[in-house]
Protein backbone atom coordinates (compact mmCIF):
# COMPACT_ATOMS: atom_id res chain seq x y z
CA UNK A 1 0.00 0.00 0.00
CA UNK A 2 1.15 3.53 -0.79
CA UNK A 3 -0.45 6.86 -1.43
CA UNK A 4 0.63 9.13 -4.24
CA UNK A 5 -0.65 12.09 -6.22
CA UNK A 6 0.79 12.75 -9.66
CA UNK A 7 0.55 15.98 -11.63
CA UNK A 8 -2.65 17.21 -10.04
CA UNK A 9 -4.14 20.29 -11.69
CA UNK A 10 -7.24 21.76 -10.10
CA UNK A 11 -9.23 24.95 -10.26
CA UNK A 12 -12.52 25.66 -8.47
CA UNK A 13 -15.34 26.49 -10.91
CA UNK A 14 -15.55 30.24 -11.34
CA UNK A 15 -12.15 30.86 -9.73
CA UNK A 16 -9.56 32.79 -11.70
CA UNK A 17 -6.50 30.93 -10.45
CA UNK A 18 -5.58 27.30 -10.15
CA UNK A 19 -5.17 25.78 -6.70
CA UNK A 20 -2.80 23.09 -7.94
CA UNK A 21 -0.48 23.25 -10.93
CA UNK A 22 1.08 19.85 -11.36
CA UNK A 23 1.16 18.94 -7.68
CA UNK A 24 2.83 15.61 -6.92
CA UNK A 25 3.79 13.80 -3.75
CA UNK A 26 3.85 10.33 -2.29
CA UNK A 27 3.61 8.78 1.14
CA UNK A 28 5.24 5.40 1.00
CA UNK A 29 4.68 3.95 4.44
CA UNK A 30 1.74 3.74 6.80
CA UNK A 31 1.92 5.75 9.99
CA UNK A 32 1.29 9.23 11.22
CA UNK A 33 2.12 11.61 8.37
CA UNK A 34 1.35 15.26 7.84
CA UNK A 35 0.09 17.73 5.29
CA UNK A 36 1.54 21.07 6.29
CA UNK A 37 1.33 24.51 4.73
CA UNK A 38 0.09 28.05 5.18
CA UNK A 39 -3.64 28.82 5.29
CA UNK A 40 -5.36 28.87 1.92
CA UNK A 41 -2.70 26.89 0.14
CA UNK A 42 -5.09 24.04 -0.65
CA UNK A 43 -4.53 21.40 2.05
CA UNK A 44 -8.25 20.76 2.53
CA UNK A 45 -8.83 20.72 -1.23
CA UNK A 46 -6.01 18.21 -1.62
CA UNK A 47 -7.45 16.07 1.17
CA UNK A 48 -10.86 16.05 -0.51
CA UNK A 49 -9.28 15.15 -3.85
CA UNK A 50 -7.48 12.21 -2.24
CA UNK A 51 -10.67 10.74 -0.72
CA UNK A 52 -12.76 11.51 -3.80
CA UNK A 53 -14.95 14.25 -2.33
CA UNK A 54 -13.69 16.64 -5.01
CA UNK A 55 -13.72 15.61 -8.64
CA UNK A 56 -13.03 17.60 -11.77
CA UNK A 57 -9.25 17.67 -11.37
CA UNK A 58 -6.69 16.33 -13.78
CA UNK A 59 -3.82 14.08 -12.77
CA UNK A 60 -3.86 10.85 -10.86
CA UNK A 61 -4.39 9.85 -7.27
CA UNK A 62 -3.04 6.38 -6.50
CA UNK A 63 -4.14 4.75 -3.31
CA UNK A 64 -2.88 1.26 -4.05
CA UNK A 65 -4.63 -1.38 -2.01
CA UNK A 66 -6.70 1.16 -0.12
CA UNK A 67 -10.45 0.99 -0.46
CA UNK A 68 -11.60 2.94 2.58
CA UNK A 69 -10.28 6.46 2.65
CA UNK A 70 -11.88 8.81 5.17
CA UNK A 71 -11.66 12.54 5.67
CA UNK A 72 -12.62 14.16 8.98
CA UNK A 73 -12.59 17.84 9.82
CA UNK A 74 -13.00 19.90 12.92
CA UNK A 75 -16.32 21.59 12.13
CA UNK A 76 -18.31 18.38 12.02
CA UNK A 77 -21.17 17.89 14.46
CA UNK A 78 -23.11 14.97 15.86
CA UNK A 79 -26.91 15.22 15.85
CA UNK A 80 -28.19 16.53 19.16
CA UNK A 81 -31.15 14.18 19.55
CA UNK A 82 -29.26 11.80 21.81
CA UNK A 83 -26.10 11.63 23.93
CA UNK A 84 -22.67 11.30 22.32
CA UNK A 85 -22.34 7.93 24.08
CA UNK A 86 -25.42 6.59 22.33
CA UNK A 87 -24.21 7.95 19.01
CA UNK A 88 -20.88 6.19 19.48
CA UNK A 89 -22.61 2.92 20.41
CA UNK A 90 -24.68 3.09 17.24
CA UNK A 91 -21.78 3.61 14.86
CA UNK A 92 -19.30 1.25 16.52
CA UNK A 93 -19.13 -2.26 15.06
CA UNK A 94 -19.29 -4.96 17.74
CA UNK A 95 -15.75 -6.02 16.95
CA UNK A 96 -14.46 -2.59 17.94
CA UNK A 97 -16.06 -2.27 21.37
CA UNK A 98 -12.70 -2.69 23.10
CA UNK A 99 -11.18 -0.02 20.89
CA UNK A 100 -14.02 2.27 21.82
CA UNK A 101 -13.49 1.82 25.54
CA UNK A 102 -9.76 2.50 25.16
CA UNK A 103 -10.30 5.58 23.01
CA UNK A 104 -12.94 7.03 25.35
CA UNK A 105 -10.43 6.82 28.18
CA UNK A 106 -7.40 8.16 26.30
CA UNK A 107 -9.46 10.95 24.74
CA UNK A 108 -10.54 11.97 28.28
CA UNK A 109 -14.23 11.60 27.46
CA UNK A 110 -15.35 9.06 30.08
CA UNK A 111 -17.31 11.60 32.13
CA UNK A 112 -19.01 13.19 29.13
CA UNK A 113 -20.55 10.27 27.28
CA UNK A 114 -24.00 10.99 28.74
CA UNK A 115 -24.02 14.55 27.40
CA UNK A 116 -25.31 15.75 24.06
CA UNK A 117 -22.94 17.20 21.49
CA UNK A 118 -24.04 20.81 22.05
CA UNK A 119 -23.24 20.46 25.76
CA UNK A 120 -19.56 19.72 25.07
CA UNK A 121 -16.74 22.24 24.76
CA UNK A 122 -15.19 22.76 21.31
CA UNK A 123 -12.23 20.57 22.18
CA UNK A 124 -14.48 17.79 23.46
CA UNK A 125 -16.60 18.05 20.34
CA UNK A 126 -13.55 17.62 18.13
CA UNK A 127 -12.36 14.67 20.18
CA UNK A 128 -15.68 12.83 19.98
CA UNK A 129 -15.84 13.47 16.25
CA UNK A 130 -12.36 12.07 15.69
CA UNK A 131 -13.15 9.05 17.87
CA UNK A 132 -16.07 7.97 15.70
CA UNK A 133 -13.86 8.03 12.60
CA UNK A 134 -11.20 5.97 14.36
CA UNK A 135 -13.87 3.36 15.13
CA UNK A 136 -14.58 2.79 11.44
CA UNK A 137 -12.83 0.48 9.02
CA UNK A 138 -10.29 2.54 7.10
CA UNK A 139 -6.89 2.32 5.49
CA UNK A 140 -6.36 6.07 5.31
CA UNK A 141 -7.75 8.73 7.62
CA UNK A 142 -7.16 12.39 6.92
CA UNK A 143 -7.47 14.47 10.08
CA UNK A 144 -8.08 18.09 9.07
CA UNK A 145 -7.47 20.15 12.21
CA UNK A 146 -9.25 17.32 14.01
CA UNK A 147 -7.63 18.14 17.34
CA UNK A 148 -8.19 21.89 17.24
CA UNK A 149 -9.17 23.43 20.60
CA UNK A 150 -7.74 20.43 22.47
CA UNK A 151 -5.07 21.23 25.07
CA UNK A 152 -1.48 20.30 24.22
CA UNK A 153 -1.07 17.52 26.81
CA UNK A 154 -4.27 15.74 25.77
CA UNK A 155 -3.41 16.19 22.09
CA UNK A 156 -0.03 14.59 22.64
CA UNK A 157 -1.46 11.57 24.47
CA UNK A 158 -4.16 11.18 21.81
CA UNK A 159 -1.67 11.24 18.94
CA UNK A 160 0.65 8.77 20.69
CA UNK A 161 -2.29 6.44 21.38
CA UNK A 162 -3.46 6.63 17.76
CA UNK A 163 0.05 5.74 16.60
CA UNK A 164 0.20 2.81 18.99
CA UNK A 165 -3.27 1.49 18.18
CA UNK A 166 -3.14 1.84 14.39
CA UNK A 167 0.47 1.25 13.30
CA UNK A 168 -0.55 -0.24 9.94
CA UNK A 169 -2.92 2.55 8.85
CA UNK A 170 -2.16 5.69 6.92
CA UNK A 171 -2.87 9.01 8.61
CA UNK A 172 -2.55 12.43 7.05
CA UNK A 173 -2.63 15.00 9.81
CA UNK A 174 -3.42 18.55 8.71
CA UNK A 175 -2.28 21.06 11.30
CA UNK A 176 -0.68 24.48 11.53
CA UNK A 177 1.26 23.48 14.65
CA UNK A 178 4.82 23.11 13.40
CA UNK A 179 6.10 21.68 16.70
CA UNK A 180 3.46 18.96 16.76
CA UNK A 181 3.95 18.06 13.11
CA UNK A 182 7.74 17.92 13.48
CA UNK A 183 7.55 15.86 16.65
CA UNK A 184 4.95 13.23 15.86
CA UNK A 185 4.86 12.78 12.09
CA UNK A 186 6.95 10.47 9.95
CA UNK A 187 6.61 11.99 6.51
CA UNK A 188 5.71 15.67 6.26
CA UNK A 189 4.33 16.86 2.94
CA UNK A 190 4.73 20.64 2.84
CA UNK A 191 2.19 22.14 0.44
CA UNK A 192 3.21 25.46 -1.11
CA UNK A 193 1.41 28.05 -3.17
CA UNK A 194 0.71 27.41 -6.88
CA UNK A 195 3.45 29.83 -7.90
CA UNK A 196 6.14 27.78 -6.19
CA UNK A 197 7.52 24.72 -7.98
CA UNK A 198 7.56 22.00 -7.00
CA UNK A 199 4.30 22.62 -5.21
CA UNK A 200 5.11 20.13 -2.48
CA UNK A 201 8.25 19.20 -0.61
CA UNK A 202 8.51 16.02 1.44
CA UNK A 203 10.45 16.08 4.70
CA UNK A 204 11.12 13.53 7.39
CA UNK A 205 9.77 14.19 10.87
CA UNK A 206 10.90 12.77 14.19
CA UNK A 207 7.97 10.29 14.44
CA UNK A 208 8.04 10.22 18.24
CA UNK A 209 6.39 7.22 19.90
CA UNK A 210 5.24 6.49 23.45
CA UNK A 211 8.00 6.39 26.08
CA UNK A 212 10.50 8.02 23.72
CA UNK A 213 12.04 11.37 24.49
CA UNK A 214 12.54 14.04 21.90
CA UNK A 215 15.96 15.21 20.76
CA UNK A 216 15.69 19.00 21.03
CA UNK A 217 18.33 19.77 18.41
CA UNK A 218 16.70 17.45 15.91
CA UNK A 219 13.30 18.94 16.64
CA UNK A 220 14.57 22.46 16.03
CA UNK A 221 16.28 21.34 12.84
CA UNK A 222 13.09 19.70 11.55
CA UNK A 223 11.02 22.75 12.42
CA UNK A 224 13.48 24.99 10.56
CA UNK A 225 13.34 22.75 7.50
CA UNK A 226 9.54 22.86 7.49
CA UNK A 227 9.41 26.62 7.86
CA UNK A 228 11.95 27.09 5.08
CA UNK A 229 10.06 24.73 2.81
CA UNK A 230 6.66 26.34 3.34
Amino acid sequence: MALSCNHIFFQYPGASTEVFQGLSFSVKQPGFNALFGPSGVGKTSLAKIIVGEITGYSGKVNADGMTRLLYSYNLERLPDWSSVGRHLDKITPDSKDEHKEALVEVFGMTDYMGLRFSQLSLGQQNRINLMRYLLQDFELLIMDESLANVDEMTRESIILKIKAMFPDRYFLYISHNVVEVSKFCREIVVVRGPLKQPQTLSLTGIDLKSHQSVDRDRLEQTMLEIMNAA
Partner: protein
Protein backbone atom coordinates in the same frame (compact mmCIF):
# COMPACT_ATOMS: atom_id res chain seq x y z
CA UNK B 1 -47.49 33.67 24.58
CA UNK B 2 -51.17 32.68 24.43
CA UNK B 3 -52.42 35.65 26.52
CA UNK B 4 -50.14 37.94 24.49
CA UNK B 5 -51.69 36.75 21.24
CA UNK B 6 -55.17 37.42 22.66
CA UNK B 7 -54.16 40.91 23.90
CA UNK B 8 -52.63 41.70 20.52
CA UNK B 9 -55.80 40.67 18.72
CA UNK B 10 -58.05 42.61 21.13
CA UNK B 11 -55.95 45.76 20.73
CA UNK B 12 -56.04 45.56 16.92
CA UNK B 13 -59.74 44.72 16.81
CA UNK B 14 -60.71 47.50 19.21
CA UNK B 15 -58.56 49.96 17.25
CA UNK B 16 -60.40 48.95 14.08
CA UNK B 17 -63.79 49.39 15.76
CA UNK B 18 -62.67 52.77 17.13
CA UNK B 19 -61.71 53.91 13.62
CA UNK B 20 -65.12 52.77 12.31
CA UNK B 21 -66.96 54.72 15.02
CA UNK B 22 -64.75 57.75 14.45
CA UNK B 23 -65.65 57.67 10.73
CA UNK B 24 -69.33 57.16 11.61
CA UNK B 25 -69.55 60.15 13.97
CA UNK B 26 -67.16 62.37 11.99
CA UNK B 27 -69.19 62.08 8.80
CA UNK B 28 -72.57 61.61 10.48
CA UNK B 29 -73.18 58.21 8.90
CA UNK B 30 -76.46 56.45 9.71
CA UNK B 31 -76.76 53.19 11.70
CA UNK B 32 -77.56 51.39 8.43
CA UNK B 33 -74.04 52.07 7.17
CA UNK B 34 -72.07 51.70 10.40
CA UNK B 35 -74.00 50.38 13.41
CA UNK B 36 -73.99 52.16 16.75
CA UNK B 37 -72.21 50.61 19.77
CA UNK B 38 -75.65 49.63 21.16
CA UNK B 39 -76.55 47.83 17.89
CA UNK B 40 -73.25 46.02 18.00
CA UNK B 41 -73.85 44.90 21.59
CA UNK B 42 -77.39 43.71 20.81
CA UNK B 43 -76.22 41.80 17.72
CA UNK B 44 -73.43 40.16 19.72
CA UNK B 45 -75.93 39.02 22.34
CA UNK B 46 -78.30 37.72 19.64
CA UNK B 47 -75.91 35.79 17.40
CA UNK B 48 -72.88 34.80 19.46
CA UNK B 49 -74.12 31.24 20.05
CA UNK B 50 -75.00 30.65 16.42
CA UNK B 51 -71.83 32.31 15.14
CA UNK B 52 -69.74 30.57 17.79
CA UNK B 53 -70.95 27.23 16.44
CA UNK B 54 -70.18 28.40 12.89
CA UNK B 55 -66.65 29.42 13.86
CA UNK B 56 -66.16 26.04 15.55
CA UNK B 57 -67.30 24.33 12.33
CA UNK B 58 -64.93 26.46 10.26
CA UNK B 59 -62.06 25.86 12.68
CA UNK B 60 -62.58 22.10 12.60
CA UNK B 61 -62.41 22.10 8.79
CA UNK B 62 -59.34 24.36 8.92
CA UNK B 63 -57.57 22.06 11.38
CA UNK B 64 -58.29 18.95 9.31
CA UNK B 65 -57.23 20.82 6.17
CA UNK B 66 -54.04 21.97 7.85
CA UNK B 67 -53.17 18.46 9.05
CA UNK B 68 -53.79 17.07 5.56
CA UNK B 69 -51.67 19.78 3.95
CA UNK B 70 -48.82 19.33 6.46
CA UNK B 71 -48.81 15.59 5.80
CA UNK B 72 -48.88 16.06 2.02
CA UNK B 73 -46.25 18.81 2.10
CA UNK B 74 -43.94 16.61 4.16
CA UNK B 75 -44.38 13.70 1.75
CA UNK B 76 -43.83 15.79 -1.37
CA UNK B 77 -41.05 17.81 0.31
CA UNK B 78 -39.20 14.63 1.22
CA UNK B 79 -39.53 13.32 -2.35
CA UNK B 80 -38.60 16.69 -3.83
CA UNK B 81 -35.46 17.11 -1.69
CA UNK B 82 -33.43 14.90 -4.01
CA UNK B 83 -31.13 16.41 -6.58
CA UNK B 84 -32.51 14.01 -9.16
CA UNK B 85 -34.66 14.76 -12.19
CA UNK B 86 -37.75 13.80 -10.19
CA UNK B 87 -36.78 16.06 -7.28
CA UNK B 88 -36.20 19.01 -9.60
CA UNK B 89 -39.49 18.33 -11.37
CA UNK B 90 -41.42 18.37 -8.07
CA UNK B 91 -39.73 21.61 -7.01
CA UNK B 92 -40.43 23.39 -10.30
CA UNK B 93 -44.01 22.09 -10.34
CA UNK B 94 -44.59 23.25 -6.75
CA UNK B 95 -43.22 26.75 -7.44
CA UNK B 96 -45.35 27.10 -10.57
CA UNK B 97 -48.59 25.70 -9.18
CA UNK B 98 -48.41 27.79 -6.01
CA UNK B 99 -48.24 30.93 -8.16
CA UNK B 100 -51.79 30.18 -9.37
CA UNK B 101 -54.48 31.62 -7.05
CA UNK B 102 -56.41 28.78 -5.42
CA UNK B 103 -59.46 31.02 -5.06
CA UNK B 104 -59.69 31.11 -8.85
CA UNK B 105 -59.87 27.31 -8.89
CA UNK B 106 -62.48 27.22 -6.11
CA UNK B 107 -65.53 27.47 -8.41
CA UNK B 108 -64.35 24.37 -10.28
CA UNK B 109 -64.09 22.50 -6.98
CA UNK B 110 -67.63 23.52 -5.99
CA UNK B 111 -68.99 22.52 -9.40
CA UNK B 112 -67.30 19.13 -9.22
CA UNK B 113 -67.78 18.30 -5.54
CA UNK B 114 -70.79 20.36 -4.47
CA UNK B 115 -70.98 22.89 -1.61
CA UNK B 116 -70.46 20.50 1.29
CA UNK B 117 -67.69 19.60 3.71
CA UNK B 118 -65.27 18.14 1.16
CA UNK B 119 -65.06 21.28 -0.97
CA UNK B 120 -64.35 23.44 2.09
CA UNK B 121 -61.70 21.01 3.25
CA UNK B 122 -60.05 20.78 -0.15
CA UNK B 123 -59.81 24.55 -0.60
CA UNK B 124 -58.51 25.05 2.96
CA UNK B 125 -55.88 22.35 2.45
CA UNK B 126 -54.84 23.74 -0.92
CA UNK B 127 -54.48 27.29 0.36
CA UNK B 128 -52.18 26.37 3.24
CA UNK B 129 -50.46 23.47 1.43
CA UNK B 130 -48.17 25.39 -0.92
CA UNK B 131 -46.54 27.75 1.60
CA UNK B 132 -45.82 24.74 3.82
CA UNK B 133 -44.53 22.77 0.84
CA UNK B 134 -42.15 25.54 -0.22
CA UNK B 135 -40.74 25.75 3.32
CA UNK B 136 -40.40 21.97 3.63
CA UNK B 137 -38.77 21.78 0.20
CA UNK B 138 -36.32 24.51 1.19
CA UNK B 139 -35.46 22.77 4.45
CA UNK B 140 -35.23 19.27 3.02
CA UNK B 141 -33.17 20.30 -0.02
CA UNK B 142 -30.48 21.97 2.08
CA UNK B 143 -27.85 19.49 3.31
CA UNK B 144 -26.54 19.89 6.85
CA UNK B 145 -23.04 19.10 5.63
CA UNK B 146 -21.24 19.22 8.97
CA UNK B 147 -23.55 16.50 10.34
CA UNK B 148 -24.27 14.48 7.23
CA UNK B 149 -20.62 14.16 6.11
CA UNK B 150 -19.77 11.35 8.52
CA UNK B 151 -22.81 9.26 7.62
CA UNK B 152 -22.18 9.72 3.90
CA UNK B 153 -18.50 8.81 3.87
CA UNK B 154 -19.04 5.79 6.10
CA UNK B 155 -21.97 4.56 3.97
CA UNK B 156 -24.50 4.93 6.79
CA UNK B 157 -26.72 7.55 5.22
CA UNK B 158 -30.29 6.42 4.57
CA UNK B 159 -33.11 8.67 3.42
CA UNK B 160 -34.83 8.36 6.80
CA UNK B 161 -31.69 9.57 8.59
CA UNK B 162 -31.24 12.41 6.10
CA UNK B 163 -34.81 13.59 6.66
CA UNK B 164 -34.43 13.24 10.43
CA UNK B 165 -31.22 15.32 10.48
CA UNK B 166 -32.64 18.08 8.30
CA UNK B 167 -35.97 18.22 10.15
CA UNK B 168 -34.24 18.24 13.54
CA UNK B 169 -31.82 20.98 12.55
CA UNK B 170 -34.70 23.13 11.27
CA UNK B 171 -37.26 22.34 13.93
CA UNK B 172 -37.83 26.00 14.82
CA UNK B 173 -38.45 26.91 11.19
CA UNK B 174 -40.84 23.97 10.76
CA UNK B 175 -42.90 24.74 13.86
CA UNK B 176 -43.06 28.43 12.90
CA UNK B 177 -44.29 27.56 9.41
CA UNK B 178 -46.86 25.12 10.77
CA UNK B 179 -48.25 27.56 13.35
CA UNK B 180 -48.25 30.31 10.71
CA UNK B 181 -50.16 28.11 8.29
CA UNK B 182 -53.08 27.97 10.75
CA UNK B 183 -54.06 31.47 9.60
CA UNK B 184 -53.93 30.36 5.99
CA UNK B 185 -56.03 27.27 6.67
CA UNK B 186 -58.65 29.36 8.47
CA UNK B 187 -58.61 32.00 5.72
CA UNK B 188 -58.91 29.27 3.08
CA UNK B 189 -61.91 27.69 4.78
CA UNK B 190 -63.66 31.03 5.22
CA UNK B 191 -63.02 31.95 1.58
CA UNK B 192 -64.44 28.60 0.49
CA UNK B 193 -67.50 29.07 2.69
CA UNK B 194 -67.91 32.62 1.48
CA UNK B 195 -67.83 31.59 -2.17
CA UNK B 196 -70.29 28.73 -2.17
CA UNK B 197 -70.45 26.47 0.88
CA UNK B 198 -73.54 25.80 2.95
CA UNK B 199 -72.05 26.01 6.45
CA UNK B 200 -69.42 27.76 8.55
CA UNK B 201 -68.74 31.34 9.52
CA UNK B 202 -67.86 32.30 5.92
CA UNK B 203 -71.37 31.25 4.90
CA UNK B 204 -72.85 33.35 7.74
CA UNK B 205 -70.76 36.34 6.65
CA UNK B 206 -72.08 35.92 3.12
CA UNK B 207 -75.67 36.04 4.41
CA UNK B 208 -74.85 39.08 6.57
CA UNK B 209 -73.36 40.73 3.48
CA UNK B 210 -76.58 40.15 1.52
CA UNK B 211 -78.47 41.71 4.45
CA UNK B 212 -75.97 44.62 4.54
CA UNK B 213 -75.65 43.93 8.28
CA UNK B 214 -72.23 45.23 9.35
CA UNK B 215 -72.92 44.39 13.01
CA UNK B 216 -73.10 40.68 12.22
CA UNK B 217 -69.95 40.90 10.10
CA UNK B 218 -68.07 42.65 12.92
CA UNK B 219 -69.26 40.05 15.44
CA UNK B 220 -68.14 37.29 13.07
CA UNK B 221 -64.73 38.95 12.63
CA UNK B 222 -64.35 39.21 16.39
CA UNK B 223 -65.13 35.52 16.91
CA UNK B 224 -62.85 34.45 14.05
CA UNK B 225 -60.00 36.59 15.37
CA UNK B 226 -60.23 35.46 18.98
CA UNK B 227 -60.51 31.78 17.94
CA UNK B 228 -57.53 32.07 15.61
CA UNK B 229 -55.47 33.85 18.27
CA UNK B 230 -56.13 31.02 20.72
CA UNK B 231 -55.44 28.30 18.14
CA UNK B 232 -52.19 29.90 16.96
CA UNK B 233 -51.10 30.49 20.54
CA UNK B 234 -51.68 26.82 21.33
CA UNK B 235 -49.75 25.74 18.22
CA UNK B 236 -46.82 27.98 19.16
CA UNK B 237 -46.85 26.62 22.70
CA UNK B 238 -46.83 23.06 21.32
CA UNK B 239 -43.91 24.00 19.02
CA UNK B 240 -41.97 25.42 21.96
CA UNK B 241 -42.63 22.29 24.01
CA UNK B 242 -41.35 20.09 21.19
CA UNK B 243 -38.31 22.33 20.81
CA UNK B 244 -37.56 22.21 24.53
CA UNK B 245 -37.97 18.46 24.59
CA UNK B 246 -35.32 17.86 21.96
CA UNK B 247 -32.90 20.73 22.39
CA UNK B 248 -30.53 21.02 25.25
CA UNK B 249 -29.03 24.39 25.94
CA UNK B 250 -25.76 24.79 27.77
Amino acid sequence: MLPRRIYQFLIIFLLGIAVLFAVKYLFGLSDYVIPSPADLRDTLAAVYKHYGADVASTLSVAIIGQVVSIFLALMVGILGRQTTWFGSFIKVAAYNVQAYPIVAIAPIIFILFGDGFFSRLLIAAMICYFPILLSVLGIMSEPVKEIEHFYRVTGRMRWQLEVKIRAFENLNKLTTVISGSATLAMAGTIVAEFIAANAGIGYSIRIALYQSDLSKILVALFLIGITLAIYQGLLEAAGRMIGKGVTVTR
